[in-house]
Symmetry: C2
Subunit: 158 residues, 2 copies
DNA sequence: TAGAACCTTGGAGCGCACTCGAAGCAAGCG
DNA sequence: CGCTTGCTTCGAGTGCGCTCCAAGGTTCTA
């Protein structure tokens, strides 16, 4: 419940850096739209709802592509990083294991030769998502039946 | 992935014991359709895909309403129990915490006075399910865009 | 009636995804 | 100058949902 305060879209920025505003019908992230593309960790905490601990942990396990540092070694996140975090957040909500997301991050770091593998990974994830949605539909039907039962029972009790 | 080999419906059996075949358009559970309404734990393992360990653990934490025993103390599950386990499986797939399911089990044991609370709990769960489905739809859209990108890139590479 | 297979219990252990703590460096402010 | 706030690192701790173990009793098949 404390996970996604943000709703910005994660776009193909990591695939094609030349068109970072591609498909930006929905403005990806208005905060600091100026040139100041260097957020502190606490700003990212405010944007994403993640904790600073978690952000640092993501980096340790290889889930962040690469985070810039200030001249004194402090993290400076770019809009690119925020978009990546948004994608990670979405994938996390699908139940994708962190290890798989790390794998994807590695592929992204691996450059264009990994396009095929990335495609496969995302396609598999897509299948998972569809399956989960079907399960949820099933469950919703059961819930609705039970809820209907209790509603009826409540209207004419004893 | 090792979770739901079964697809039987969990019906209102616990709410209204007099109509255990209510709404059984889809036959709830054909195995042993005879009077032998007393499955061993290993049979339940085969039906549900859960492990015996997990079944015993469910009972310990109060997630099973009550399981009969043979004269020598071994568990004997009824069709009612199987239906309950099916509901639990569905709720688990929605991400509902086990503690909440235990709460629901307690309400069921509490009898008709708890109908209102059960309604509230299920209604809240329903809201969660809808929210999750919306999140999944979002994620699916992002995945589709990315997958489309990689598919195009794959068709005309280098 | 022997042996294999299966069941019982309580408690310990595991994997995942964080979550926190401690010790220390750096920046900004009255 | 001292103080507060925020950042750094690494490693240990937490909560959840199982998962497994040991030691023993039971049930089934031949």
């Amino acid at each position: 419940m404390t996970v996604t305060q943000n709703t910005a879209v994660a776009i193909e920025a990591e695939e094609d850096p030349t068109r970072s505003d591609f498909c930006s019908a929905e403005p990806p992230r208005p905060p600091r739209p100026d040139g100041r593309d260097a957020y502190t960790i606490s700003e990212v905490v405010a944007f994403t709802g993640l904790t600073a601990h978690t952000l640092r942990w993501y980096e340790r396990i290889g889930l962040m592509p690469h985070v810039d540092r200030s001249h004194t070694g402090q993290r400076r996140y770019t809009n690119r990083d925020l978009e990546w975090l948004d994608l990670v957040g979405k994938l996390r909500l699908t139940g994708m294991p962190v290890a798989d997301m790390v794998r994807y991050a590695e592929l992204v770091r691996g450059g264009e030769e990994t396009y095929g593998e990335r495609y496969e990974l995302l396609a598999a994830t897509r299948r998972d998502v569809l399956e989960r949605m079907a399960q949820l539909r099933d469950t919703l039907a059961v819930l609705d039946r039970k809820i209907g039962f209790y509603a009826d029972a409540g209207h004419r009790p004893a």
